[in-house]
């Protein structure tokens, strides 16, 4: 499959929406009551100060701030998976897991590149539902697990490659580190991940020293074009530099 083809297919996936309030959702919000930390964002008069906000736009579209659900755009996702396969043979014919799969972009990309078995894991059930629909639309088989990555218990190094676009840990400190740590525990071959370029030294040190990686290299620097998903984003945060990393775990390898 060509890069542009892959990017095109991923571009057709249903993503988390950019937050604009559907009148029906706002109306519904005003009629319903929510536990205090959960609030609806209403256009033009966003609430601030709550520990967690919930943006809701109909049944299928939820973006939870606390989870930092930034969708992985087709541009970045296609390059990430294309590099993993074409430069390192880490996708085709492999068992691939997508940590924090969200609506399943990286999982779908892996399946499109003929991973033999793909598993998507996420803490948010609505995201998993969306991932299922996206996979079904393309007639791909992806196994999904509803779990918190930090509580995941996987045995036996069945997974060759972990791909992930972890929460950057801006809202919940260390969230990206939990993902990376777990990825390096369960993958037998490689972990691909995106992290803010500003955290490069920290990531490298943590991977090699704390998470037992035997290699940690930045493959390229990408511009992460965040749609202005969250109200608290200042303008400068919308377009941020991220590194595409490849880590090699210290694990028994299949070949």
């Amino acid at each position: 499959m060509k890069l542009k083809q892959l990017e095109g297919l991923l571009g057709g996936l249903t993503q988390f929406p950019a937050p604009k309030v559907h009148p029906a959702a706002a109306a519904a919000a005003s009629r319903l009551s929510f536990p205090s930390p959960v609030r609806f964002w209403e256009g033009g008069q966003g609430k601030s100060g709550g520990a967690s906000h919930l943006f809701a736009f109909g049944r299928r579209c939820l973006v939870q701030v606390e989870l930092e659900q930034y969708p992985t755009g087709p541009h970045i996702a296609s390059r990430m998976l294309f590099t993993a396969e074409n430069s390192f043979d880490d996708i085709t014919g492999k068992v691939v897991a997508d940590f924090g799969c969200g609506c399943g972009t990286l999982a779908v990309a892996s399946a499109l590149l003929d991973a033999e078995h793909v598993i998507g894991i996420d803490i948010d059930p609505q995201s998993l539902e969306l991932a299922q629909e996206n996979a079904d639309d393309l007639e791909l088989d992806i196994d999904l697990i509803w779990s918190d990555i930090k509580n995941l218990n996987l045995k036996g190094f069945h997974i060759d490659t972990v791909v992930m676009n972890p929460p950057f840990g801006t809202r919940k400190k260390g969230a990206d580190m939990e993902f990376l740590s777990m990825g390096l525990k369960v993958a037998s071959q490689a972990v691909y991940s995106l992290h803010k370029t500003s955290t490069r030294e920290h990531i490298k040190k943590a991977a090699l020293r704390d998470f037992n990686a035997i290699r940690a290299e930045v493959l390229c620097e990408l511009r992460y074009d965040l749609p202005q998903s969250y109200k608290f984003h200042k303008k400068k945060e919308v377009d941020i530099a991220v590194d595409l990393w490849r880590f090699v775990p210290n694990a028994p390898r299949s070949s």
Binding site: D141, L144, K155
Partner: protein, 131 residues
């Protein structure tokens, strides 16, 4: 959830020692054919917990699909075996990749905590006091 995923999944509930293998109590499953990749099976087989896989197939009411003991590799990967209906490699492929458990549950062997499978997705979420 396919049985390859089941083969690696364990419970992490407080009180579990290994949390593995999860006892499958399946109500509903379907099969979907996929192309057999012998090289993939060859690389994967050493990592597969055979007993857990066999237990899962039996829990689905398929007592004949796999034998108690893993057949020798010479037999599984014998030339042309992949083309023979009912050969060991085809059964293993079928068990790992073609059976989709839709509804049912996974039970932790140490604590009996039950993790439901809904629409094919196992719910492995833990409550705060279970971590």
């Amino acid at each position: 959830m396919r049985l390859l995923t089941h083969n690696m999944l364990a419970s992490n509930v407080r009180g579990a020692t290994t949390g593995y293998p999860l006892k499958l109590e399946a109500a509903k499953w379907v099969t979907k054919e996929v192309e057999l990749n012998a090289d993939f099976i060859r690389g994967l087989l050493p990592k597969i917990d055979w007993r857990a896989l066999v237990a899962a197939t039996r829990a689905l009411g398929l007592p004949e699909l796999l034998p108690d003991e893993q057949p020798p590799e010479e037999e599984i990967f014998a030339e042309g075996a992949a083309d023979v209906e009912g050969s060991a490699i085809r059964r293993i492929h079928h068990a790992l990749l073609e059976i989709h458990v839709q509804e049912g549950s996974l039970v932790c062997p140490d604590t009996s905590r039950c993790f439901p499978i809904d629409k094919g997705i196992p719910n492995m979420m833990l409550h705060e006091d279970e971590v």
